[in-house]
């Protein structure tokens, strides 16, 4: 192992790692709103809307993220949609993870015993108030953990935007392997950075999970 080289390329990789974090965080943020919208649409009174939401989720989950990225980036201009690589990564990432997240949120909501809903409604709470005060607080723990799993997938998926030349961690690693001919050193460093990012996400998720489920051990 060439330690000098590793010291030398660390700043470059760290800068790239920051892009990885940035793109993933933004995609997660927007993805959450897309997911919430999808959950709401799936409970719509109108059958076509419910059906559309389900079809969207099914198609996004049933096709490769990589192909979605290529479709929007290279095929988008044909629809008048011209995005720079970074924005494209955020947008496709958000719309992709949103479909998965909507299933995670729905699963967490459905995990709450139906008696809770009935009890709340019998007290006179409306549908939304029941969701806000009774259902969501109880499903938050499971929801946070499922979203955490998706956030990790998002970080790993973000490596694919290297294909459309976003200078994130995998892109930089590939370029450095090509210029230094030291694959092991570059791989070790970049892998380490991914591991740090992923463990940081896991730590945040655990912290939020504990906060959200405090009521169970109070």
């Amino acid at each position: 192992m060439d330690i000098n080289l590793m010291m030398e390329i660390t700043p470059l990789l760290m800068k790239a790692a920051w892009i990885t974090i940035d793109i993933s965080a933004r995609a997660l943020f927007f993805g959450f709103f897309i997911a919430s919208a999808l959950v709401a649409l799936r409970t719509s009174r109108h059958v076509p809307i419910r059906w559309l939401a389900r079809a969207y989720i099914s198609v996004v989950r049933g096709t490769p993220y990589f192909v979605q990225l290529l479709l929007v980036f290279y095929g988008g201009p044909a629809l008048g949609l011209r995005l720079d690589p970074f924005t494209c990564g955020v947008v496709v990432g958000a719309f992709n993870i949103g479909a998965y997240m909507s299933e995670a949120i729905r699963g967490a909501i459905e995990s709450v015993d139906s008696g809770q809903n009935e009890a709340s409604r019998s007290l006179g709470f409306g549908r939304l108030a029941t969701l806000q005060h009774i259902i969501l607080p109880q499903s938050a723990g499971l929801m946070i953990r499922s979203i955490g799993v998706l956030a990790i997938i998002l970080v790993k998926n973000s490596s694919l935007v290297s294909i459309i030349s976003v200078v994130e961690l995998t892109y930089q690693a590939q370029r450095l392997i090509g210029s230094t001919y030291k694959p092991l050193e570059v791989f070790t460093l970049s892998a380490l950075m991914y591991i740090v990012i992923i463990y940081a996400v896991m730590g945040i998720v655990e912290f939020l999970y504990r906060r959200a489920t405090r009521y169970t051990y109070l």
Partner: protein, 217 residues
């Protein structure tokens, strides 16, 4: 905004080739990762630490870093020391990646088989290895089927990533057609449709297999 799918039709034989390559890679990687996953799981559960710790480390490493980074490392890294064709790098890279995920599942399902099963088999006169092979592993396999199915469905979608290291599967061959026809939207939407079809077929197959395996739990 005008769409013209005629180039897609012109190049459809190329796409068919790509589908064939994608499916072939999928079958090979599925076999490799499921068989290998079982072997890795057995070794990491039933051997001494000096043997199973490096293996567990590798499982963990494959699961915490992105596939594409692993592929680049194998492609450019291994290429430096040994001459292996890109297709081998792709199949092995994808194979190892999902071997780790499958091994992780098998480790959990092997642990979930009760000790009574082990004792019953030993009391009949089966040895340690014969018990693992005839009694423990088959049960662990049936229990793993739902998660294995999910992994393999995700894996097939990841075959598209192999185009990044120049493997002539569906996406790569289409990129060639796109470079000649300048119709990226039409081609990529077609690829997405093909993948969606494969996905639906796999999910149907998965629920059929799960129903058949349910009796043996």
């Amino acid at each position: 905004m005008e769409f013209d799918f005629s180039p897609v039709i012109t190049y459809f034989p190329t796409l068919i080739k790509g589908i064939g390559a994608t499916l072939l890679i999928g079958v090979v990687v599925a076999l490799l990762s499921i068989l290998g996953g079982q072997i890795v799981a057995v070794i990491s559960l039933y051997t001494r630490k000096a043997v199973n710790w490096p293996l567990r480390f590798l499982i963990w490493l494959f699961m915490t870093t992105p596939l594409l980074l692993q592929l680049y490392f194998l492609y450019f890294g291994l290429g430096q020391w040994v001459l292996i064709p890109a297709i081998a790098v792709g199949v092995l890279g994808l194979g190892f990646h999902y071997m780790a995920y499958n091994a992780d599942i098998f480790i959990a399902t092997i642990k979930s088989v009760s000790n009574g099963q082990y004792e019953a088999s030993r009391s009949l006169g089966f040895g340690h290895l014969a018990t693992i092979f005839y009694i423990i592993l088959p049960q662990a396999f049936y229990r793993a089927i739902p998660q294995l199915g999910n992994n393999m469905i995700i894996m097939v979608k990841d075959i598209s990533v192999l185009s990044a290291i120049g493997i002539a599967e569906l996406v790569y061959l289409s990129q060639y057609a796109i470079s000649v026809t300048f119709r990226p939207f039409e081609f990529y939407i077609t690829i997405a449709a093909i993948y969606y079809l494969i996905n639906i077929l796999m999910e149907t197959g998965q629920s059929w297999v799960e129903r058949r395996a349910a009796a043996r739990k």
